[in-house]
């Protein structure tokens, strides 16, 4: 694909100029690598020949740490810190796995509240992704509006559980707090407000000619490559693959709501470009609003703590549960040896897997386009490294 582009330029005399490959480091302190990611670039002038990501700067031994907890519940604050911009979704994945291991049935109300929280968190996470993506491309204004709206979601969370970022809210078998009475009207108000806001974002960023030019033909990820690299989430759907674990491997009460899966259609260029991944995120926010609105209407009464087990001692065995986090398939594999401490916890983090495709999609592009590609993958290094 890249031969034609990398061919040495022809000078005015008709002879080709001698070019040389050069290795440069991008990151770990580069603002557009979204954290501490180091990319080793092999470049030929402005053209990227090869990209080697170096990760691990934020490795905190999450998996090893879990083996030394005194019980299963204590893992939850650590799970929060894996992907710190969507803590609720991380907790959701972990509690779903632990509940399958323990064979607990949680009350309806708990499931509904979890879905509401997870979808609000998905919006918050996509707002960061979209906002910082704007900055990467050079549009600063949408970032501020995105963060303002995200702040409103965090206010809702703070009202419920007292924390704004790392919640420790979903516990195995229940929730730490019930939602306060003001939550439902406030959340409904937010949904109405945010619908209008999304239209503004689309005007401001998505269909902005400059933005489209920077992203529409960049970082093409064909569907077969995406599947072969096990990409998931907006990365996969941006390439036109209709796959969402909320529908395809149902968990919780997602089957009760009416919503659509957003896929990239190649509106402004070939399918699977950075723009497609961006539009999938925008569309997903709208779908999340739909789910939240329906869940707020149908939420049943009940006790949110009745199913929390007093003593968590699963029978020896293992379980793998996967959920759709804003970045893709987030799975937890838990092995129990019958004691109160998990024997082994393995997290399958979507960011790590999605990042692995970067080499494939950025070969032959310009360095400036590489920034657009990294932004469109939407990595959170806390989750890549764990």
């Amino acid at each position: 694909m890249s031969e034609a582009i990398i061919a040495p330029p022809i000078s005015s005399t008709g002879r080709s100029l001698r070019t040389e490959e050069m290795i440069i480091n991008m990151g770990p302190q580069h603002p557009s690598t979204h954290g501490v990611l180091r990319l080793e670039l092999i470049v030929d002038g402005e053209i990227v020949v090869d990209v080697v990501p170096h990760i691990g700067y934020l490795h905190r031994c999450f998996e090893k740490h879990c083996e030394h907890m005194t019980n299963y519940q204590q893992v939850i604050p650590y799970v929060d810190r894996m992907d710190y911009v969507c803590s609720m979704n991380n907790e959701f994945a972990y509690v779903v796995a632990a509940e399958r291991l323990l064979k607990i049935q949680v009350p309806e109300r708990v499931e509904y509240i979890r879905v509401i929280m997870a979808e609000l968190q998905r919006i918050a996470s996509h707002l960061i992704a979209v906002g910082t993506y704007g900055i990467d491309i050079g549009a600063f204004t949408p970032f501020l509006y995105c963060f303002r709206d995200r702040e409103m979601i965090l206010d809702l969370f703070e009202m419920t559980c007292g924390a704004r970022l790392l919640y420790n809210y979903m516990w195995i078998g229940g929730l730490s707090h019930d939602i306060p009475v003001e939550f439902v009207p406030k959340a409904k108000e937010f949904c109405g407000y945010f619908r209008k806001q999304l239209r503004d974002f689309n005007d401001l960023l998505t269909y902005n000619e400059i933005f489209v030019k920077r992203t529409a033909n960049v970082g093409l990820l064909p569907a077969d490559v995406a599947v072969n690299f096990a990409c998931s989430g907006p990365m996969l759907r941006g390439s036109g693959v209709n796959w969402d674990l909320r529908r395809d491997d149902p968990y919780s009460v997602y089957h009760k709501f009416d919503w659509d899966i957003a896929v990239g259609k190649g509106e402004v260029g070939p399918v699977g470009s950075c723009w497609d991944r961006h539009i999938v995120r925008m569309a997903e926010m709208e779908q999340s609003i739909r789910i939240v609105e329906q869940a707020l209407e149908q939420i049943p009464e009940g006790d949110v703590q009745s199913a929390i087990p007093k003593r968590i001692r699963p029978n020896p065995g293992e379980v793998y549960a996967r959920t759709e986090s804003p970045r893709g398939e987030l799975g937890f594999y838990i092995v129990s040896d019958g004691t109160g401490t998990p024997y082994r916890i393995k997290a399958r983090s979507p960011g790590f897997v999605n990042l692995s495709v970067i080499n494939e999609i950025s070969r032959g592009s310009m360095i400036a386009d590489l920034v657009a590609i990294i932004g469109s993958i939407d990595i959170v290094l806390g989750e890549v490294d764990r």
Binding site: P77, C161, P270
Partner: protein, 165 residues
């Protein structure tokens, strides 16, 4: 690869090439924003006042001049960050045991709220203080002198816990 061919649907006109409509579209939203109320807070001057649901640093409740804590050690056992150290001793009060030493290492504490949840006496609760900055590591070890707060100050949180648990 076929897909990677650059697709240009139409050549841009001069007006479009100057991106002026795009810039104006952006400016419209920005200027509209100037007349809306401010969303931000000038932080060090205007402090953020948390509600009772907020989880700030954990504190010990002081009632009638002594701590409520009975030094059962549950909080130190449940703490995922191993931040709490309790040493029990006997007392003539009718609670019989009291913490001779109670220390929370605020560099370790991750404000998870498990200690508050597990305490049988409602003796350790999350306050609304969020400014936790230290100049050296010793300052971050909060002993009883810093942890004890009179019950009146945390009454809002205690009421919140009663109504939401």
């Amino acid at each position: 690869m076929e897909q990677s061919k650059v697709i240009r649907k139409k050549d841009l006109t001069l007006l479009e090439r100057m991106y002026i409509p795009e810039i104006l579209k952006g400016m419209r939203i920005t200027i509209g924003q100037m007349f809306k109320p401010k969303f931000t807070v000038q932080y060090p001057e205007d402090k953020f006042v948390p509600s009772a649901s907020f989880r700030g640093r954990p504190v010990l409740v002081e009632e009638n001049g002594i701590e409520r804590c009975v030094a059962c050690g549950l909080c130190s056992r449940v703490c995922p960050a191993l931040a709490i150290e309790v040493q029990a001793s006997e007392t003539v009060e009718n609670k019989e045991r009291y913490p001779e030493k109670f220390e929370i290492n605020m560099l370790r504490c991750i404000l998870c709220g498990f200690c508050e949840e597990v305490c049988p006496e409602e003796a350790i609760i999350m306050s609304n203080e969020y400014e936790l900055v230290f100049e050296n590591q010793k300052d971050a070890l909060f002993a009883k002198d810093k942890l004890l707060v009179p019950i009146e100050k945390v009454q809002a949180r205690l009421d919140f816990l009663r109504s939401h648990r």
